[in-house]
Point group: C2
């Protein structure tokens, strides 16, 4: 009797907890919302802002996916604004030893001077279609997680192929809520993209790595491109008008971009995996490469020019990952996550029906983490190509896999080689971006060294390295490959598996050698980890749906999202941080560091200082929810006018990868007014400013 009463009591307590938890308000302005799930009621209620379809569609069609990041149309003539660090690769690829556009900046005074960027492709989201029912209908009772995953992938491949063929658009199914929802995204793509304007890196990335992910900031982190279609500038009605008045504290603003990934719905065990296995590995790896490339860059200015873009990327990722990890190392944050999860689990366990349906989900995910940890290292080194740090390997592997996959039925291919993605794969293979063999040997030699250090006993390691030094092997591979030549790549694309098998290109042979083990590890990951996570993630999401509907935002997935918040300063260690910075602050900070790198300024900033209105805002912060991938996102006011471009988050924003927070976490923008001021006063780019301001 006692035991029974106890149980009853537990259940009542559990339901009570569940009930209370449901009553908790949605955490503030949390959420990077898919365009079809924007919380209109919340915005209406909290901000008295009515989201119309017209407003939403216009912003969506003016938003651009630029590589893994974001951008927007800012003129009716196809002008595109993004961050300098988003366009950095494209700018680097237009540079040579004689013409270092990263260092000098660039401005095309006429359209004829605009520089075509090889390999750059922009995507604009045309339509979202809910295909959840179609995808979920693939699941039949009694299927294993692996079978469910395979069945869903088959349906997804069919949907993508059919939609791509029907619309001519790039169609891809996006998995939301860990598989609780599937949406088909249809993109228009643009391949003729030309550089219009880039400032000097000194001002675009003022403060360098030390100031990255901090605030206050003073960066003109912008670049302007133009989309061409049929050799003419793209005419578009969907572009953002420039705001005539600047933002002020308390203003509601919106951010439209492509946040890469968040982990707010991850279970506690998934967080532990990141904290204890994945991030330590990644961080150590970034640090190693950072040190390595700085050594390389020291050799000469040309070495520095070649390495700098890669160093930039590594340091940016390193700082971000360290920031994410800081959240996971924060005992309070983890305790909060655990408590939240236990609350849900207890509520579910207290109800036998719910317990039966959802109770096992967390434990199964926990088991999958253990399995993942058991092969994480070889998975990173082989399938994720950690061991082969050279673009040549990426090209060779893509050629090898393209040849293998394209002969298979669409739904049985590796995801990245599905019909809907093939055109993009081919274009990426034919990118004429420059490759510097000396640099490739240097990187590859070290990653091979890492392979030898970490997985010395694997047969593949011993085969590749034999008794030789990693430098020797790297040199032989890089000097032996002919993959720099686009015509050769074309021949492999056309020749298919036969050309691949008959190849004596050492890089192709290396890609072939490691393909079986890589695929084996990928299968283990996809079947024993990913499929289990998706299956159980779906269960957890369904449980949450039952409790909350779609009032909780899905985790970021690298696809277009709308977030919102207010322009707002914050208090850090008792010190008040104002919401904006200005040009005056820029000069002060440079002076404080004696104008020494990374606080040096381009010559013209010193010459033109007196021409500037030093009070013009340069950067500002807002509480809009964002994460890596949002770089380049336009930020607009209630009228949908461009008020700034997101380029960073402060260091306190990084742990929001896992838990939303808005007291001290901020997104950092370049202010629209600062952009115009610089273009006119510093760069003599009045016609460009006029185009932005709509003054022709």
């Amino acid at each position: 009797m006692n035991r029974l009463r106890n149980t009853c009591l537990k259940i009542s307590l559990g339901l009570l907890v569940l009930f209370l938890w449901l009553l908790l308000p949605l955490a503030a302005d949390e959420g990077m919302w898919p365009y079809n799930l924007v919380p209109k009621d919340y915005l209406a209620k909290k901000y008295n802002f009515k989201v119309t379809d017209e407003w939403l569609n216009h912003l969506r069609l003016a938003s651009i996916r630029f590589g893994g990041a974001s951008a927007s149309f800012v003129s009716p003539d196809g002008l595109v604004l993004t961050n300098h660090h988003v366009g950095r690769g494209a700018i680097q690829n237009l540079s040579t030893a004689e013409r270092n556009l990263i260092k000098t900046g660039f401005y095309a005074r006429t359209r004829d001077e605009e520089l075509k960027c090889p390999g750059v492709e922009l995507w604009v989201l045309q339509e979202i279609e809910d295909v959840t029912d179609k995808v979920l209908s693939a699941e039949k009772p009694g299927m294993s997680p692996q079978e469910v995953a395979a069945a869903r992938q088959k349906v997804i491949a069919e949907i993508e192929k059919e939609a791509s063929e029907k619309t001519g658009l790039r169609c891809t199914v996006v998995t939301l809520y860990s598989g609780g929802m599937y949406n088909l995204y249809k993109y228009k793509t643009y391949n003729d993209v030309r550089l219009v304007f880039a400032p000097e890196e000194e001002i675009a990335f003022f403060g360098g790595d030390p100031d990255n992910f901090t605030y206050p900031r003073y960066d003109l982190d912008i670049a302007l491109f133009r989309v061409y279609e049929n050799g003419q500038p793209l005419k578009t009605q969907h572009y953002l008008k420039w705001a005539t008045t600047g933002v002020k504290e308390g203003d509601l603003v919106f951010c439209s971009g492509n946040p890469g990934s968040t982990g707010r719905m991850l279970t506690y065990d998934q967080l532990l995996f990141l904290r204890d296995v994945s991030y330590p590995f990644t961080i150590a790896n970034y640090k190693r490469r950072q040190a390595l490339l700085h050594e390389y860059a020291k050799k000469s200015p040309e070495h520095e020019r070649i390495a700098l873009n890669t160093i930039f990327g590594i340091e940016n990722s390193l700082k971000a990952t360290v920031g994410y990890q800081s959240g996971l190392l924060d005992k309070d944050l983890m305790a909060k996550k655990l408590a939240e999860e236990q609350k849900i689990r207890r509520a579910i366990e207290a109800n036998p029906a719910l317990a039966k349906e959802y109770g096992q989900a967390w434990e199964e995910i926990a088991q999958a983490q253990k399995e993942y940890a058991s092969f994480f290292k070889p998975y990173m080194f082989f399938e994720r190509a950690q061991a082969f740090n050279t673009v040549y390997f990426n090209i060779a592997r893509t050629l090898v896999r393209l040849a293998t996959e394209k002969d298979k039925p669409n739904d049985q291919r590796l995801r990245e080689f599905r019909e809907a993605n093939l055109a993009a794969v081919r274009r990426s293979l034919l990118s004429p971006a420059p490759i510097y063999d000396d640099f490739e040997i240097y990187k590859l030699a070290d990653s091979l060294k890492q392979l030898r250090e970490e997985l010395p006993d694997l047969m593949e390691t011993r085969w590749i390295l034999g008794g030789k030094s990693c430098e020797e092997v790297a040199k032989e591979l890089v000097t032996g490959t002919k993959l720099k030549d686009l015509e050769i790549r074309k021949k492999y694309i056309e020749g298919g598996l036969e050309a691949i098998y008959q190849s004596d290109d050492p890089m192709i042979k290396l890609a072939l050698l490691v393909d079986p083990i890589s695929r084996g590890l990928r299968q283990r990951y996809e079947k024993n980890v990913e499929a289990v996570e998706v299956k159980n993630g779906t269960l957890i999401a369904r449980a949450l749906f039952k409790l909350k509907g779609t009032s909780i935002p899905p985790d970021a997935t690298g696809t277009l999202r709308l977030s919102f918040g207010v322009v707002k300063g914050y208090v850090e260690n008792g010190r008040k941080i104002p919401y904006k910075t200005d040009f005056a602050g820029l000069y002060e900070r440079a002076k404080k560091f004696n104008f020494q790198p990374p606080y040096s300024l381009p010559e013209r900033y010193l010459q033109r200082k007196s021409a500037l209105n030093l009070k013009t805002p340069l950067n500002f912060v807002a509480t809009v929810d964002s994460i890596g991938g949002n770089s380049g996102s336009p930020v607009v006011n209630r009228k949908g006018e461009f008020v700034g471009v997101l380029f960073d988050g402060n260091i306190q924003s990084l742990p929001t990868r896992f838990v939303y927070e808005d007291k001290i976490s901020r997104s950092v923008m370049v202010d629209a007014q600062g952009i115009i001021e610089a273009l006119i006063k510093i760069y003599d780019a009045k016609s460009l400013a006029d185009e932005l301001l709509g003054r022709k």
Copy 2:
């Protein structure tokens, strides 16, 4: 005018030559004839022998394909007679260190004692169907040789698959006349085969390698097996009755078996390729392995037991190949082949219509030989697995390729993995034949050494061998693999590509490593050599058809053929060689060599000598056309009665691979009477003799 007249004159001369050449009679009793092309008129005319369908069908259904060689049913209870050297592998697999059946021989006095032979499969040809039109209809105008080959392969795969499914038989399309004719062969297969009787190797292979391919011979090269079906001896009406009277000189006899391959229709350039590229390589390789394995066998009696079967095979092949090569090195033979070819070519060139259709065929084949020579060595080492001389590699490669191929559409698979062959592939993979690791390491180490000597600069060679000794590598591979375990093999068969990719078995990894280069070389061979040879071989065959119909026999293709000739002695270097030998001769020859190996005799032959009728014929020769693969072929008289079993050809018969000859070239048989005499007098096997003689 002069030039024109000249041309006319040439044409007339050409046609005249062609005409004369057509009048030449068909060369004597030449031909290993497919059962549907037996030259009945010729037999009727020359031998006054009427071939009835009943006679032919009975002989066909009593004939058996045993591995790559031949056998026949010799009792209504499924008794099968073949050569000891054909059944050698099966007998070896039943042997252990304690029970060496190769050495001691074996006789099952009761059915219970008959020993089941793992992995042995016998085929009996049920039906031949002409599918030439179907296959040739795949060719469309304007196709390249490669496209024609692919189109034909597709049709062939469909035909095989459909017929296999329809009949439940093992159906395979045989290419005759270099692609001039395609026939569908349908086999019934038997997998429960048990050893009934084997003599001691000393008498089965009396004279050993020195006497192999010579005559006079004194060998009891026989072994008897029994086919079971559903656990019971197979009841069959199609078996050969034992001849009650022996053969005598001049008797017409027939041989029904599976000659492997001949090259009588090869062009002169193909012969040059064999003479200058292929045979020198093969002979050197056999010699190397012969010496190597003799070294191994010397280590201990158990080493000898393990190695002897392989040594036997190598020495047999070596002697045969040296014999074939002796033909190609014979200037007269080559001059004759060249003259014949030039005669045809001149005739064709003299006629513009014929010249246009067939004129290029020889030159294109010549070019293909040059191409083949350019990659022959790596092709042998990788695709033909010369570099990996261990059964483990064969198993691993078959597992890897089975997994890869079975996911492909039937017609796109490597030929040996087509639907019709899959059951046999699976059975071969699960053969429990014993494997001796020490022996495998020994063989593999040397073949790796060969690889290092011959192709040291290939990336694959360096990967596999690294800085290590070949012995180390071989040891690591063989001791590391788990493929000896049949359960493990089963798991790979069932697990498919996923199990293969996730495998950490070093032999599987090796097979994966060399698969791309091997497939690349195979593609080069199939497309640039084989397809060109088939296309142009077909053209040449068509030209010959126009001139001669099917009165010329097609080259051997390892399929069932009927040949005929007369029992006949010959003159060698002025010395008359009688058509038969007897037991008396056996003892004389043994004595001449002091009964020392390989002229030693089993103990019981010394003890029972007095019981024997020493005049009983032991071996005899006839002019029947044969080649390797005919071993074990039954030889019958006009009544279709069994008079002997073919087990060899004399050394002069080897060049008939390329040119038929019947003056001194002879096939060598064990005489039916000698078999009975030995069974009764030496082996106390009266009940077995009674079964053969039909006296129950």
